[in-house]
């Protein structure tokens, strides 16, 4: 048990490495990477020691360990913070530091250490990834939601810095996203999710008065949250637990790139490949899934509440949606990016239908094989001299054998090749759970749709994986770069082999009990002892095995049997026609967001600024300032320019903006008539407006101008310019007043 007292050291090692590199070690490249690898290495050793201690502690699941201290005062109480370990944290501790260590070692080769291609910001890279590892390790160890959120955001910062790592890069095509834009996009998109999550957190905090998991998940608190009702405008009355769960899920949607906040992840491929592996496989994106798993009791607090449907549907839909896009991508990393989105959808869907253990299991196995695939693709990219287009590869099997075989291991795991890969066991458990729910609740139920969507996605996954292997490694080289490809250094291939080992074998930790005997499903026993095990379903298992094999086979059939020649188009283009174009353009989501959200925000900013600077506030201020000097012209300006014109302009601009927005939103033939109606009404209104403007407003304005001018002309005569005359008038008036007073 002594091991558990050192828990807080685990994130501290990489953090120390980060501080040391930033403060002094950065001129020395070797020292920098040694520090970074040393830091994560120590975390790995300590992490695994902790993990095995936890495994061999009897009844560990019932007695999580917490270490806390007081952080800051809140009124009459203190906010406590600290670290905690329970089975979920323990298995994450098995996965995260190990995968991170592999990626760190791999980075030494990838960033070109010891060659002439070494990156000029080599040390900075290691500092960033060390900080990133700190964030992830801290996140899994946090014992309260606030601390989790802090590390969550630190990871967001690191992903921003790492995706935009090559920030000078420019492309000849201005429409292609550059690393700096991709980083910004990632940060802002995830931040939208984060703010929603923050709101959920605030809601939870203000209801419970505490954010520690132990406290939130106590029976009384969950019961209280499930019983209490809250009325939301437009939505209706819902249990508090449901609202909080959905809001917190918003954070997971952003971080795990679920629909509709998925757009940042594919573009995040602009970062260096180890970063892609680190962010998109092992750690950051799975943090979203981890969050949902961590908050699982809250999600399960209200049975059959809307939160279940939201989570399950978003997950399942994302799984299918992303896998269809992956089919049409040619960039080796983009395929993996969409595949990641899709696999994360699996996990979210699993958690949504209550398959806690299956979701966590897939989270762990996926991290290993997806990290392997990303690192493998990085190895291919380096081997092919920074060529990323699969259409320009081919025939790399002979030239890069280690990369090939490890990549195949990862790819088979991803597609769920039966029995010998980890992905098969974990994915099958999710499908089996959905199937069981469907059998239980009938066709019109969430589990049915989840099962259906996930099954189709499983086939597509196998298909694009087969396509990827065939295009990259089989056939003949289709470009100059591919012809001169070479195997990568040991610092890159050794991590690949280690990861491949786990990608194949890790599944054996969670084989269903029906196959290996009661009580021997180790993973379920350790992580989810309080949940009922998913019963084995032979038809589902057979179906998913058939789908995986047939998907891979089809992929090979289309792309591998008759390898593409140089410059030959993708056979799918012809087969699918316009559908392929839509898929290739990712259903035009980027364009849609650009036209609505981005344009909208910038337009609003401009509008507000003009309101501030040109139309209303500043002119008002200036008018007041000058008002004393010339009353007549001041009045004229005051009424005419800033207020009326400003208001008219504002109304006009708002009208224009509104109609532009309307045009964009309902630009579809079905509702054209509605648009026309709106247009006609608008025209009629503006005609009426025009009449009022011409006859009433202008008349008033002209009258006020004319009136002031007349009065001014009359008063001009009195103004002699001699102060004494004025004083005389004052005295005379005073005497008059006194006289009136006295004679009253």
């Amino acid at each position: 048990m002594f091991m558990f007292n050192l828990l807080w050291l685990i994130p501290l090692f990489p953090f120390t490495a980060f501080v040391l590199i930033v403060l002094g070690a950065n001129p020395n490249k070797k020292l920098s990477h040694s520090l970074a690898i040393g830091g994560i290495g120590l975390s790995w050793i300590l992490g695994w020691l902790t993990f095995f201690t936890a495994v061999f502690t009897p009844h560990f699941g019932e007695h999580p360990v917490r270490l806390t201290f007081d952080w800051f005062p809140t009124g009459n109480t203190w906010f406590e913070t600290g670290v905690m370990i329970d089975p979920l944290t323990a298995i994450m501790l098995f996965m995260v530091p190990f995968v991170c260590l592999m990626i760190f070692i791999y980075s030494v080769g990838y960033m070109g250490y010891g060659t002439e291609h070494v990156d000029p910001r080599y040390s900075r890279f290691f500092a960033y990834i060390s900080l990133f590892a700190t964030g992830m390790l801290g996140l899994i160890l946090a014992d309260n939601l606030l601390l989790l959120f802090i590390f969550w955001e630190i990871m967001g910062l690191c992903s921003y810095l790492l995706i935009g790592f090559w920030f000078e890069k420019k492309y000849p095509d201005p429409r292609q996203i550059t690393p700096k834009q991709a980083g910004l996009k990632a940060f802002i998109t995830t931040r939208i999710g984060d703010v929603i999550m923050l709101l959920g957190m605030l809601f939870l905090y203000s209801r419970v008065g505490n954010l520690t998991f132990e406290h939130i998940f106590s029976h009384e608190t969950l019961h209280m949250l499930a019983e209490a009702q809250v009325t939301l405008p437009l939505v209706g009355t819902l249990p508090v637990a449901t609202v909080i769960a959905i809001l917190i899920f918003g954070g997971a949607v952003g971080k795990s790139a679920q629909f509709p906040l998925h757009v940042w992840l594919p573009d995040a491929m602009e970062g260096p490949t180890p970063v892609s592996a680190l962010i998109h496989a092992a750690t950051m994106v799975s943090a979203g899934v981890y969050l949902v798993a961590r908050m699982f009791p809250l999600f399960a607090a209200v049975e059959h509440g809307p939160q279940v449907g939201v989570v399950a549907f978003i997950g399942a839909f994302t799984a299918l949606f992303a896998s269809t896009i992956a089919v049409a991508q040619n960039d080796i990393k983009k395929v993996l990016a969409y595949s990641t989105i899709s696999q994360l959808g699996y996990m979210i869907a699993a958690l949504g239908i209550g398959a806690y253990v299956a979701g966590a299991f897939h989270l762990i196995t996926h991290s290993f094989f997806k990290a392997l695939l990303f690192l493998g693709s990085g190895s291919v990219i380096i081997g092919c001299h920074h060529e990323q287009d699969m259409m320009h590869m081919g025939g790399l099997r002979q030239k890069m054998p280690i990369t090939f075989w490890t990549f195949v291991a990862g790819a088979f795991a991803l597609s769920g090749f039966p029995l010998i890969t980890a992905g098969f066991w974990s994915k099958d458990e999710i499908l089996a759970h959905a199937w069981e729910g469907f059998m239980h609740e009938g066709v019109v139920s969430w589990p049915f749709y989840v099962w259906l969507l996930l099954t189709i996605a499983a086939f597509l996954t196998a298909f694009y994986t087969g396509r990827q292997i065939s295009l990259t490694f089989l056939g003949q080289p289709r470009s100059h770069h591919a012809e001169h490809a070479h195997e990568t250094p040991h610092s890159m291939t050794v991590p690949l082999m280690l990861l491949a080992f786990f990608a194949l074998t890790l599944g054996f930790a969670g084989i269903p009990e029906e196959i290996i005997g009661h009580g021997r499903n180790w993973f379920h026993h350790f992580v989810g002892h309080e949940f009922a095990a998913t019963p084995l379903s032979v038809p589902v298992m057979l179906l998913s095995a058939v789908l995986a094999v047939s998907g891979l086979f089809f992929g090979w059939l289309v792309y591998g049997r008759k390898p593409l020649a140089k410059g030959q188009p993708d056979p799918l283009v012809k087969a699918l026609g316009p559908v392929h174009t839509v898929l290739k353009n990712k259903y035009y989501f980027d364009e849609l967001y650009q036209a609505t959200v981005v344009r909208g925000a910038i337009g609003l900013a401009e509008l507000f600024f003009k309101f501030d600077n040109r139309w209303v506030i500043d002119p008002l201020v200036n008018a007041v300032g000058r008002g004393g000097a010339a009353l007549a012209s001041g009045l004229y300006r005051f009424f005419d320019l800033p207020v009326i014109d400003g208001a008219v302009n504002l109304a006009g601009k708002v009208g224009v903006a509104l109609s532009v927005a309307l045009f964009h939103f309902v630009d579809m033939p079905i509702i054209d008539s509605a648009v026309n109606l709106v247009g006609r009404t608008g025209a009629a209104l503006s005609a009426a407006w025009d009449w009022i403007d011409l006859h009433i407003v202008d008349g008033l304005v002209n009258f006020s101008g004319w009136f002031t001018e007349r009065v001014g002309r009359a008063f001009r005569l009195i103004q002699t310019g001699r102060v004494q005359n004025y004083a005389l008038v004052v005295v005379a008036a005073l005497i008059l007043l006194v006289a009136v007073y006295l004679l009253r």
Partner: protein, 103 residues
């Protein structure tokens, strides 16, 4: 013998009228300034007299008289500075000729 309050008020009123006449009738700017000073001092006499006769235990009257003197001093400083500035630019202190404010 106690001098009645009214005597002080009469003196003050006389002084005020002289000052008012000076301020309104003089052409010379400095003369006007002197007239204004006279009026202020008339007020001071009133203040101090009222204090002495009505509420000798409170300091208010004296205090305000001192305030008035301070303000008067500041006003003279500013006024003279203005007159000098005007004299420099226009070579005259005759207020008839200074009519920049005419509408």
């Amino acid at each position: 013998m106690v001098i009645p309050l009214a005597w002080y008020l009469i003196v003050a009123a006389a002084l005020f009228c002289i000052g008012l006449y000076g301020a309104l009738a003089r052409r010379n700017a400095i003369g006007i300034l002197m007239g204004i000073e006279l009026m202020l001092n008339a007020v001071n006499i009133n203040l101090v007299a009222f204090w002495r006769y009505v509420r000798p235990q409170m300091l208010t009257g004296q205090l305000f008289a001192i305030f008035v003197m301070t303000v008067a001093a500041a006003e003279v400083a500013v006024g003279l500075a203005l007159v000098i500035a005007i004299y420099r630019s226009r070579d005259t202190v005759n207020v008839e000729e200074i009519d920049l404010l005419r509408g």
